[in-house]
């Protein structure tokens, strides 16, 4: 998250085989390369995904993955600090990166004739990062400012942080990607460098390129650029933590300066490609797929108790997944009413499956939204990479088929199975007015 933070990740859990055909290559050093041809515009997107995110961080060093992402822009002996983005921009490109709990992704969008630059620069910084001591300290300050901006001074994101810390007591999803402030202060240059040497290795990375490219030509250049980089000899520890079943609801309260009360409830749910993931995705759409979704209709339109409300399922995770419910109370309304209204909607689905038409609508929304998103070469690459991180890019091709199979009874079944009070964590933001 050099410029953007992805709290929940932004992408629809969908795909179909007819567009965006993927070609796969693997280099002897373990680097995996996925390419998608699309010649509609003279542009290409180059992404490199490292299988390392905040869940890999050791205790007391939270925020390491994200700070390392920042340091990746601080130069190598060949290309000094700041040279990376300057060069990309000079070539008419844009670049950025972000870190999640599971992975770290870097990308450039360039005129297609200039995509060789990505290969040169990414290969260089996979191996030769300088990580100057002084630059490290300055960048740590930048990340602390980022934490103040995105978390400390944002009431709803602060609540999200509280809820995650309560919902996971064992699995390393319990701390924020950006890290705790006190941990950030304790991260030094050597921590970062060791982490880099361990995880930034060709056999722990995937390249995804999309757009106006010729894959069979481009792979030769990628080979020339990356094949000299040897896999890291340092072993990467497996994550062995498992979140034990939750027995009893957990509640957290956050009191701070804010305008309106807000609630966020999360329930443990299986991650993709569990069979139930498809049904949970459609359930989220039935509840929250636009203004005709049940949540908008009930809480915002009819009862007028909330100014915003949503349901969401994010199943593209490497570790355990969650189902989310959240809403902001209307001025003068009690947040308890919002929470109760959510429960009523969930209870209705548990009591009787949604209508066939409702489920058809949800499936149509998912399919149309997928098709429209394919107009963006960035999105094509991103979706491929996300599936690859979560278990294999080929899974995306079976996704729409899975969605099409979901029946109203499946939706009722997964609501009953996962949206149970005792397995939920509820966070409430209670505004406190400072006398200023």
């Amino acid at each position: 998250m050099r410029k953007l933070i992805v709290c929940f990740a932004i992408i629809l859990l969908i795909a179909a085989p007819s567009y965006a055909e993927v070609k796969e290559y693997r280099l002897p050093n373990g680097l995996n390369v996925l390419m998608i041809e699309d010649h509609k515009a003279p542009l290409a997107v180059f992404q490199i995904w490292y299988r390392v995110g905040s869940r890999n961080e050791p205790a007391g060093k939270t925020g390491l993955s994200h700070l390392l992402e920042h340091m990746m822009f601080k130069g190598t002996p060949k290309y000094g600090s700041k040279a990376f983005s300057n060069l990309v921009q000079k070539y008419g490109g844009t670049d950025n990166a972000y870190t999640t709990k599971d992975y770290t992704m870097y990308y450039q969008r360039l005129p297609s004739g200039k995509i060789d630059l990505s290969i040169e620069l990414e290969a260089d910084r996979m191996k030769n990062l300088l990580m100057d001591e002084k630059e490290t300290l300055a960048e740590r300050d930048v990340v602390m400012e980022e934490r103040r901006l995105r978390y400390e001074d944002d009431p709803q994101t602060s609540l999200y942080e509280e809820v995650m810390a309560a919902a996971f007591k064992v699995y390393p999803y319990r701390w924020p990607v950006i890290g705790w402030m006190s941990d950030l202060k304790g991260i030094g240059r050597d921590d970062l460098y060791d982490y880099y040497k361990k995880y930034y290795s060709p056999d722990n990375a995937v390249i995804v390129v999309s757009g106006d490219i010729n894959p069979d030509e481009l792979i030769k250049k990628i080979e020339a650029g990356f094949s000299g980089i040897k896999p890291s000899p340092v072993p990467r520890p497996e994550i062995t933590s498992e979140e034990p079943p939750q027995k009893g609801q957990r509640r957290v309260y956050l009191k701070r300066e804010a305008e309106l009360p807000y609630m966020l409830a999360v329930y443990h749910a299986p991650a993709f490609p569990d069979e139930d993931a498809y049904s949970l995705e459609v359930l989220a759409m039935v509840l929250s797929g636009g203004k005709s979704g049940r949540v908008y209709k009930s809480l915002i339109y009819e009862k007028k108790i909330a100014i915003s409300a949503f349901a969401d399922y994010s199943g593209l995770t490497s570790g355990p997944a969650l189902f989310y419910l959240g809403g902001t109370a209307s001025p003068g309304r009690d947040i308890g009413e919002v929470e109760r209204a959510f429960h009523e909607e969930i209870d209705k689905i548990k009591a009787g499956p949604p209508s066939g038409i409702e489920v058809q609508k949800a499936r149509n929304q998912i399919e149309a939204s997928f098709l429209m998103s394919q107009d963006s070469i960035y999105f094509q690459a991103q979706l491929t990479g996300m599936y690859e991180m979560a278990g294999g890019w080929r899974l995306k091709d079976s996704y729409l088929q899975g969605i099409r199979k979901v029946t109203p009874e499946d939706i009722q079944r997964v609501a009953r199975k996962y949206l149970i009070e005792d397995a939920g964590t509820v966070g409430i933001l209670m505004p406190v007015k400072e006398n200023k």
Binding site: D38, A41, A138, L149, D153, S292, I300, A311, D312
Partner: protein, 447 residues
């Protein structure tokens, strides 16, 4: 994952209230077919067949510039009520029918215009146009829906008070523009929203939602003949109207002002700036290049290099010029921990002074031009982006060949132009500084 999308849906009404940023310009070869229909509607068509989808953007010259100050929010309220009921469909029926075909249909308003957008699969284009024309031509504006929307907007305005950047920006515009419509929040305020009645909404719609006051951009898998047929079929009842003239005296503010707003925050949110340029100002291109070097060019900009990379004092620092129908503004924005506020303000001032006094080095100038021209195709690389972009190009009178001419405009900018526009538009005598912070800790000095 649906969360962001779900949140976007409820916030969709607000997304259009973003200015046409100077840095957000476009191109690559686009074959735009332009014509003016008998009823005065300007039609722009780009055929694309890489995907079976169609993107429609209707731009209406209806904005806060057309509403009385004590009815602020009228243009926005009118736009967002379009999808809340027509003579033959209830609000729920509109969303049910739209969402059943996986389409989206929404409307919003910014400082200069209103936009109604449809995204639809090619196979459902008839249904899509039917819904689109129904909400445009036959909105009901029932009192019940007006009340509901009014309260929703008021609630959302209230919640935005939680965002320090919103609080700062509102104060900034108020100081800079005073009673001019650009000095207001597009959504209005609780007070002005409460005054708006149904008749005023109906009249606003009647006055400004006319074909001769509109630009329709259609991009996607649809031929010219198909499009003509759709327009004949679904826009038949749309009649030319005498659109009222909206005049505003614009008077640039004088002197320098400092606004401090106290909040329990860890960071000072700092905005600094002044009056900028209109979109039709020929200095637009020189200003684009100058701003890129100063603070518009992300990690390549001077402000970012200095305040973020060298001093480690901020995550984000940027500058931009809005360029509107009437004079836009120039703004530098940054957040830093309260205790660093004075240092950062001094550095911003120093960078502006240096730009005015010394201009730019030739290497910097060439890099900026290379980015602005080279990144142009990326601004219009999807059908949605093309539809939105060509409708604003038409609105600001830039011509359908604008994308072809843009590189030459940028490449003609000289170091002398940069110095001249910096001296002219980075005005340190007439400017506004807003600091939203824990004022005790920030201790911002008078300047």
């Amino acid at each position: 994952m649906n969360l962001m999308r779900a949140r976007k849906t409820v916030k969709a009404a607000l997304i259009l209230s973003i200015a046409f940023l100077i840095f957000g310009s476009p191109s690559a070869a686009l074959e735009i077919k332009r014509k003016t229909l008998a009823d005065g509607l300007t039609l722009l068509h780009v055929k694309r067949d890489n995907l079976p989808v169609v993107m429609v953007t209707l731009l209406l010259k209806a904005s806060p510039l057309d509403e009385p100050a004590d009815r602020a929010g009228l243009a926005y309220l009118t736009a967002t009520l379009l999808t809340e009921g027509t003579k033959s469909r209830t609000s729920s029926e509109i969303s049910e029918e739209t969402e059943f075909i996986g389409a989206s249909l929404d409307a919003g308003t910014n400082q200069d215009y209103t936009i109604v957008r449809l995204s639809v699969l090619k196979k459902d284009i008839n249904k899509g146009f039917e819904l689109f024309s129904d909400v445009l031509l036959n909105p009901k504006f029932s009192n019940e829906e007006i009340e509901r929307k009014r309260e929703l907007i008021k609630g959302s305005l209230r919640q935005r008070e939680e965002e320090p950047s919103y609080v700062a920006d509102r104060a900034f515009k108020r100081e800079l523009y005073g009673s001019h419509p650009y000095g207001r929040v597009v959504e209005g305020s609780g007070e002005t929203l409460d005054k708006i009645n149904r008749k005023e909404i109906v009249n606003f719609h009647k006055d400004y939602y006319a074909p001769n006051n509109a630009i329709l951009a259609v991009v996607g898998d649809v031929s010219g003949e198909e499009l003509d047929g759709l327009i004949k079929k679904f826009f038949r009842g749309w009649e030319k109207a005498g659109v009222p003239e909206s005049g505003h005296g614009f008077e640039a503010m004088k002197g320098s002002r400092l606004v401090r707003i106290d909040k329990d925050l860890t960071q000072a949110n700092i905005l600094f700036g002044g009056i900028g340029i209109k979109r039709d100002n020929p200095d637009f291109y020189a200003v684009s290049v100058m701003n890129y070097i100063l603070g518009g060019g992300g990690f390549s900009s001077r402000l970012m290099r200095r305040i973020r990379d060298e001093m480690g004092l901020a995550y984000d620092v940027h500058s931009f010029f809005t360029s509107n129908k009437e004079p836009g503004y120039f703004q530098v924005g940054v957040q830093t921990k309260n205790a660093s506020a004075n240092t950062v303000i001094e550095e911003i001032t120093a960078q502006i002074k240096s730009m005015k006094a010394e201009g730019v080095a030739s290497g910097e100038l060439e890099d900026a031009k290379a980015f602005l021209t080279g990144s142009f195709p990326g601004k219009i690389d999807t059908m949605r982006k093309i539809a939105d972009f060509i409708s604003t190009v038409e609105f600001y009178g830039l011509g359908t060949d604008y994308m072809d001419r843009y590189p030459a405009y940028i490449n003609s900018v000289t170091p002398g132009d940069i110095k001249r526009v910096a001296a002219k538009y980075l005005d340190l005598e007439n400017c506004v500084l807003v600091v939203v912070a824990d004022q005790k800790k920030a201790d911002v000095k008078d300047r």
